[in-house]
Symmetry: C2
Subunit: 302 residues, 2 copies
């Protein structure tokens, strides 16, 4: 792989630049749509996310020797779905958040109705992007169809939407690590696994690779979430872009709350190692970026 020699930080930067270049173009200039709607969708899409899911899709494809250009449409699709979920999560009827990544949330800027529509538009449009991988980059129609089906299932009522609903229904009523695990698996883990498998499919993954990415994805996804909880408790406000201890103030049940801070830290480490081992044992020809990514997520401070 042409990037194998670079540091991981350089790799992240290079991939992020390419993803953001493509995200800027997901809605063709000449498409006739209300400009406020376009603005609202672009606002959240370009609000400076970490682009973790697109990076995962690309790292998984490249672990198999896949071509980055062929994976970008799918990587963008996953980011559109992620962005829609944040817009809807922030709505007054849901988490009622005013800030996201240090900026006013979508409904604060564009109003509630437009925020609902911006989310709907991003979610819907994501599915049309996958076809590009077939038309422009020669990924087989069968693989694209499998990617779409997985995107629909991991993001849908059995996946992310289900996790969100469980979170909503369980508010203030969650008492066990099991329940919390269910919510995290679906709210966060499903879309991470989806991104990894979608990327790998554009590079012709076999079932063994897909199974390994399942285990890797759920492990680092949960580690990521626990790390989030830890950072909410002890991180630096300015790096996080949101007030500290917001979970505590909202009486949210978190891992540090349930099992303590030290045990949470240990769990992040164990899960990261578990994920890395799954990738190592599945025999990816170029596993390094996936392994570095797992470590990077564990050590992040925002």
């Amino acid at each position: 792989m042409m990037d194998e020699g670079r540091s991981f930080q350089d790799y992240l930067t290079a991939v992020t630049v390419q993803v953001e270049r493509d995200l800027l173009q997901v809605f063709p200039e000449d498409w006739d749509m209300p400009s406020k709607l376009r603005e609202a969708m672009q606002y959240s899409l370009m609000a400076g996310g970490k682009r973790m899911r697109p990076i995962m899709a690309i790292a998984a494809a490249e672990a198999l020797g896949g071509c980055r250009e062929a994976t970008l449409p799918v990587a963008c699709a996953v980011e559109l779905v992620h962005t829609y979920s944040l817009i809807h999560d922030d709505l007054p009827a849901m988490d009622d958040d005013d800030l996201r990544r240090g900026k006013p949330t979508n409904h604060k800027v564009f109003g509630e109705a437009m925020a609902i529509l911006a989310g709907d538009g991003l979610l819907t449009h994501a599915f049309s992007l996958v076809g590009r991988a077939n038309r422009v980059h020669g990924v087989s129609a069968e693989q694209c169809l499998a990617i779409i089906e997985e995107l629909s299932i991991y993001a849908g009522p059995k996946g992310m939407v289900g996790g969100q609903a469980a979170d909503l229904l369980g508010e203030q009523g969650i008492t066990s690590a099991d329940e919390l695990h269910y919510i995290h698996t679906h709210k966060t883990g499903d879309m991470i696994v989806c991104a990894l498998k979608a990327g790998a499919r554009t590079a012709g993954a076999n079932q063994q690779h897909l199974n390994a990415l399942d285990l890797y994805g759920y492990s680092i996804g949960l580690a990521f979430q626990i790390q989030d909880d830890i950072l909410d408790l002890i991180g630096e406000e300015v790096k996080l872009g949101k007030p500290l201890k917001s979970d505590e103030k909202q009486h949210k049940v978190t891992y540090p709350f349930l099992i303590g801070l030290e045990a949470s830290r240990q769990k992040v480490e164990d899960l990261t190692e578990l994920g890395k081992q799954a990738v190592i044992q599945a025999g990816f020809p170029y596993p390094n970026r996936l392994l570095e990514l797992a470590d990077f997520l564990m050590k992040r401070d925002h």
Copy 2:
């Protein structure tokens, strides 16, 4: 076609029964998801819609001699997208409607947050249904991918979501038939055309067929919408399932308001004829149900 001999009313009934049987099964029983979410999605999905879009998909497929079973997954997908759009349209931040087809709207029963999620879940899940046409019924992966891409574009920011946004932004500011035409084209027409083309694609439509369905769909779609406006003005409350003159009370700009009742009636007739001619000239082997459907929509009283 086995149903060619039946009356159109019998045909409608038979197709509706099959569509509703399949809609009941779109979320497998053994899928692990919050039961409230499942309930909320099923509530709106089974709230007794006219199933016009699934019927259009099936009539278009059968006009080409296609098999109904192979079209049903796609017909259901379109109905899921339609249902999600109604749930979100009815939300307090949008049209703020309490009743839909004579029943309390989704957010009135399940709360606003769950209604948002039920809509998100239905929209997301729709895309996974299309793959069934390939896996179970042998529709080619290429056709399924084309159906998904069209579903995404007709339902997305350039299509239905765009029409909804334009409607929202234009409220009380619409003064011309052109603006109203734009909104109707995207809010209603796009998904009708989408249903017709998706159905026809499952039966191997060629470009001439697809073009004819474009013209047919936009014509009867607009006729349908104008007929809705007329019924809102002069229909029977009990048949409509909503209060009369709600458009007028909400100061909505409608065709009868812009061009008068008689001219509106004439426009419904002209558009219906235009649509029928498009189908007749495109040489469908079994065009009758499409022609009857156009007449049926024009003459409906609810």
